[in-house]
Amino acid sequence: MRQIRFIEAINEALVEEMTRDETVFMLGEALRGGTFGTTSGLVEKFGKERVLDTSISENAIAGAPVGAAIAGYRPIADLMFSDFFLIAADEICNKAAKWRFCHGGKPKLPIVYMASTGGYIRSDAEHSQSVEALIMHTPGLKLVIPTTPYDAKGLLKTAIRDDNPVVYLYHKLLMAKKGEVPQDEYTIPFGVADVKREGSDVTVVAVGYMVNMSLDVANQLQKRGVSVEVIDVRTLEPLDIETIIASVKKTKRAVIVDEDTLRCGVGAEIGMQIIENAFDHLDAPVQRIGAANFPIPAAAALEPYIFPQPKGIVAAIQAVLGRDLGGPIEMEGASDTLRQEVKQMILEKKVKD
């Protein structure tokens, strides 16, 4: 099967859905040029009226879609960085999330809020955050975080067709990643987790880029005779807790890995749901991994003190297994390779342009 980049998969979904439905349009900053390449070529295909370049105005970028959606259109707002959701929190968390409910379930709000997310990019705290805990905490917003090009395309098509506000986040380190994507039309339903790797000793529930890191760890641990099951939640709202619980009942151990701040994070929520639903099946306390409770510093030397690292995942797995895995495990810095790929892709794009 053909292989395309994560960014190209997003672009294909946008092209297909804008072709399929004339009420779909996009707005955001520098969309026609496309800061990350997700919107490359759209203005040539669909014209300026459907690919709207705005001023720097996050409240309008996030709020105008609420009005346009109520009035019968299907807007896609590109906030560029998920950090900027905080600028537009009133529009996203107070308007989009609540408008239908607070008006008696009468309006429909088919809106997609998309943005790059996450860190490991050696940038500052206001361009490296994860916002999944904030969004998941807010009733009325669906939340999608794909980790492969295949999922990126199929989940975005579903998001655009959904009649509710959907937050769609793509990790910066995954943008250049290639993967199999069929030519034929497909969509992926929300609320169906993907068991990326079957295992019998421990269940690792991971979100976003942490899925990739957890898979690397699982492959290394296989050599030490540990069988790790890795689950990609794919959507946090709706959350496929059934698949997670079934896995934990099988392995009797659970580790949750998420990149957002640990305190009050997604790991706390999923971990508690595991305890509520499968306590009697657990052989060890649930472990969770997340970012340390600090804003994110830019310097590479400080990154390991803030963001989850492979060795931290190994340590959590050792803790739930209750045994030492025999000496330190050498892990290549997976993020280094991915960071290089993204830089290379951006460079190639500049050369092409």
Binding site: E49, L52, S57, G63, A71, E91, H103, K106, L109, D163
Partner: protein
């Protein structure tokens, strides 16, 4: 636009309907029937009534928080019964009892209201985008209070509407008070309408006690918007007679509001002014005035009865309202 006799009668009747409903809401508050507070719009009726009485059915209106849209939505076609029922926490309310001060009915061009003041500006711009795309000549009238124009959202929405020539009319209902703070203290210039200059749109100031002046200003801006010429900003100078929230403290800054200031504006009551004018022009006769009063009283009594007799929301709504299937 030259208003015809029937149009003037419609304006007058709407003014009386809105005043009667406002008075009824005060009584309902004192009787303990309202779920929450009441912010009377008494004395400011000409602004909303003038702005919205002659909009088309599929034009859209947002409204300022004061009066919870009473002066804008009733002329736009919202049934007073539905309006009252929402305030009584009933399932037949305009938001099924879920939002208290807001209503949703897109058949009447009523998209609802933001709970945070100034949240509506960017939504109005978004509906403007939809209206422009649809190309059927629909307009959006976004009425907001003077204090609300302090929000940054106005800048973002005004810029968007001006750049893309969206069919939006920004209405400022300047009642001269932002809670207790005199509006003159929160803007560097006398007229908020001067903000329009930077966006290259008309900025117009009208006497908000003169329903004809308000109506004509809005109709001109509506015509301009329908013709694809973009947004306008209209500031209507009026005055808040009642306290910020009914039965709460009434201050100017941190001291009691001077009674003589209120008395000056009571003499410029928009309904009295318009009634005298219509009587003088011979459009109204004393008998008409009495008949309109009687008809409106009956309408509002029936509306209140509808709200009284309506059931509360069925808890089943909680399951259906969060997401659309």
């Amino acid at each position: 636009m030259k208003l015809k006799r029937e149009q003037k009668l419609k304006l007058y009747t709407n003014l009386v309907r809105v005043r009667k409903l406002d008075e009824m809401m005060v009584k309902a508050l004192l009787a303990g029937k309202l779920s929450s507070h009441w912010t009377s719009q008494k004395g400011q009726e000409a602004v909303g009534v003038g702005a919205s009485s002659f909009l088309r059915k599929h034009d859209y209106v947002f409204y300022c928080h004061r009066g919870h849209g009473i002066t804008t939505l009733i002329p736009k076609g919202l049934s007073p019964g539905v309006y009252i029922a929402e305030h009584f926490g009933k399932g037949t309310g305009g938001a099924c009892g879920m939002k208290y001060y807001s209503h949703f009915d897109m058949e009447l061009g009523i998209p609802g209201l933001s709970g945070t003041l100034g949240g509506d500006f960017v939504l109005a711009a978004g509906i403007g985008i939809a209206a422009k795309k649809r190309g059927k000549g629909q307009v959006v009238v976004c009425m907001q209070g003077d204090g609300t124009y302090g929000r940054g959202t106005f800048h973002e929405a005004a810029l968007m509407a001006a750049n893309w020539k969206l069919p939006v009319i920004w209405g400022v209902e300047n009642n001269q008070y932002m809670i207790y703070t005199p509006t003159s203290e929160i803007y560097p210039k006398e007229n908020i309408a001067d903000l329009a200059f930077g966006y290259g749109m008309p900025g117009i100031v009208v006497d908000g006690q003169d329903v004809i002046a308000v109506c004509e200003a809005f109709q001109a801006a509506v015509d301009r918007a329908r013709a694809g010429e973009g947004p306008s900003l209209i500031e209507c100078k009026t005055y808040r007679i009642e306290p910020h929230v009914y039965a709460m403290g009434d201050l100017k800054g941190w001291k009691p509001r001077p009674q003589e200031e209120i008395d000056v504006w009571r003499k410029r009551d928009p309904i009295n002014l318009f009634r005298e004018r219509l009587l003088k022009e011979g459009i109204l006769k004393k008998a008409d005035v009495d008949r309109i009063d009687r008809d409106v009283a009956k309408e509002m009594e029936e509306a209140e009865r509808f709200a009284d007799e309506s059931p509360p929301p069925d808890p089943e709504i909680l399951k259906q309202a969060l997401y659309s299937d």
